[in-house]
Symmetry: C2
Subunit: 153 residues, 2 copies
């Protein structure tokens, strides 16, 4: 019995990464349409991380968490700091380093952004069951972790 025509692993991964790229494109566009002009998803994501995970960490910790180069994180933080959404203090444990804290303005910014986004998400969720997303998540997470580990070690 002939199976479905045997798409190679290569083709499957290509197709998958292509879909991931377009989804990233679309979700970024959707997010940024709701953020105050001039702000990016990356910057929002940093604020979100500082609340959801922990603030008081170093720029390097953040860069690693987001898998971006240090220079990129330096830049993102400088934008956030210019707008007083984060503040930095010297790292008491390392004179080369510093610690990043979210400010009250940063918390407010995040709250507002999430509220502005909620209707878009709700509009999608009304048609697209989030349980489907949950079902797919373990695959994405496992692949991400694998690729993380291949990258660094």
């Amino acid at each position: 019995m002939p199976d479905t025509p045997p798409a190679s692993d290569l083709a499957r991964f290509f197709a998958f990464f292509n879909e991931v790229g377009i989804l990233n494109q679309l979700s970024t566009a959707m997010f940024e349409a709701r953020l105050p002009p001039g702000f990016t998803v990356s910057q929002f994501a940093v604020l979100n991380h500082l609340i959801r995970v922990k603030d008081g960490r170093t720029p390097l910790d953040l860069a690693r968490a987001f898998q971006v180069p240090k220079t990129t994180m330096t830049h993102s933080l400088s934008v956030l700091e210019r707008h007083a959404l984060v503040r930095t203090e010297p790292n008491p444990n390392d004179g080369r380093s510093k610690c990043v804290w979210i400010t009250d303005a940063g918390r407010a910014f995040r709250e507002t952004a999430i509220a502005a986004l909620a209707p878009d998400i709700a509009g999608i969720a009304a048609v697209f069951p989030s349980s489907d997303l949950q079902a797919a998540m373990p695959v994405l997470t496992a692949l991400r972790q694998l690729m993380d580990s291949r990258r660094d070690g």
Copy 2:
């Protein structure tokens, strides 16, 4: 009986898009490490599209296919054309427009790039069953289509 703590749709979508963003980050980095220096995944993706789907289309068609602004596609095509990986001709049906064709050099570039990438993919596929990817694909595709449609009309 208490369910799993009720993660809101909002939180689920946030987590999903976050994972998509990191996967895009990692896959882009992996791809570009194997492309000739100075070339990007976007440029490769255009070549790939011209072969897998169809060449002879207009820049606007391509921009729509990739969900990027026209100006971005103009730029990508100019890079490809500068390297003679695509060529353009006037659109016989519309004097404002033009048609994009892949060249033999472009085909060769794509072949070489795919071959260079194959070992990385194989290394992942050896550990990560592509059947898992296939299982997740319909969710990604459905969500992408939904977001496409909400964006345009």
